[in-house]
Symmetry: C2
Amino acid sequence: MTLPPESGAAAPEGNGERPARPVPEATVSRLAVYLRVLGELREAGVETVSSEELAGASGVNSAKLRKDLSYLGSYGVRGVGYDVTSLQGRLQGELGMDHRQSVALVGVGNLGHALAGYTGFAGRGFPVSTLFDVDDELVGSEINGIRVRHVREIPEVCAEGGVTIGMIATPGPAAQKVCDLLVAAGVQSILNFAPVLLSVPDDVEVRKVDLSVELQVLAFHVARRHTGAAAVTDKTNESVVS
Amino acid sequence: MTLPPESGAAAPEGNGERPARPVPEATVSRLAVYLRVLGELREAGVETVSSEELAGASGVNSAKLRKDLSYLGSYGVRGVGYDVTSLQGRLQGELGMDHRQSVALVGVGNLGHALAGYTGFAGRGFPVSTLFDVDDELVGSEINGIRVRHVREIPEVCAEGGVTIGMIATPGPAAQKVCDLLVAAGVQSILNFAPVLLSVPDDVEVRKVDLSVELQVLAFHVARRHTGAAAVTDKTNESVVS
DNA sequence: GCATGTGAAGTTATTCACAGCG
DNA sequence: CGCTGTGAATAACTTCACATGC
């Protein structure tokens, strides 16, 4: 039985905003992608999409998309498709965009500086509200209009500012210490760019972005091609063939 | 039948360096992590690790680690563990680090600039050898000692330089065009930071890093906690509990 | 008629648990 | 003995295929 543990009263509507469904982790990241695509569609004036179209624009197949959306309940119209605006709203709610999200970034070095200025975050509902660093040269300065504060201020500032998400872009050796400070400040979601494994209480969610790992996976495939082997077990490909 | 499809004529060589095993995609990214940890261990003077230790330091459980390594053949000693140096060498080979990898980065804006200066790449065997941009202000200048060239030069420069991996850090709208140029130049592995779906021939491997998606996944979990729900189906957690 | 929503089947990945070897 | 290596069991995820309902 692999079926979604259907949590009791389904309450299709009324205004029952909460089927309390257990969304698979793999689905969550795709929902974020669908949400971006829906935004583009809406800007383009599209009012309705079929699963086929939305899936195509998101790089997945339509069955997967429908299954993903089914975890949120039924929001499509048979024979027609999905209303772009209302599906967008539904996804925003599901992905926590109706709560205010406030992001703190620790480590304003090379990468951190770029992240602080990355317009993609604010544009997508994740304004970086505070910057932290240990470097006294930087503390007190402003980057992209945001003042850099000293790492030791993390506890107060994060609590005051209602920070929900912390990003760590420090050198590896500093990351755990910073992480501990964030956790102590009540931050329960952390995006870690430092190439180290963070230890956290298990009510804290950590996601790691490791750029070297990404390159290494690509290098593996380069090597495979030269070895002439059929490489990997996988099958993930809907790319448009030239 | 889940067993490795054993690809026909196995060992062309004398000393069986290649079982021609089909490494699962999920395993590949973890191998990259193990490789990093092994490097750290070696620098710390450690000569032998058990699967338990290496797994702990990598954030996975030991059964998974052993299974992962088993795809490369047997390199451990029962009752003892793995020799750090030789396992490191084995992984480097498997991950294509014995081929020369040369990385081209397209888009030297906010994020691209940071990537160009990211020491983690060169340090881990992925020197960024060439930068490209369309901005005439940038073309001709140097960043981190690397000259910025015009995007239209991609074909020649990539071919000459033997570029094996392309990184795209342009704004979304430019990404597909850049991607086409890279592909035309023979680049078969691309790391895409632009928030768009790239179309490529299916002999080209694309990996996408979407920072907003990462944040959104975290936001989802933030929202879940406030909803008090048991959230997700998943179970991916080996974080050290405080 | 047509596209959604979903059980059921298939595939891939993880974990268990223990045989086998140093 | 202890720790590796691995079949067998479990779980997660994907795809199929079709009944369902607009």
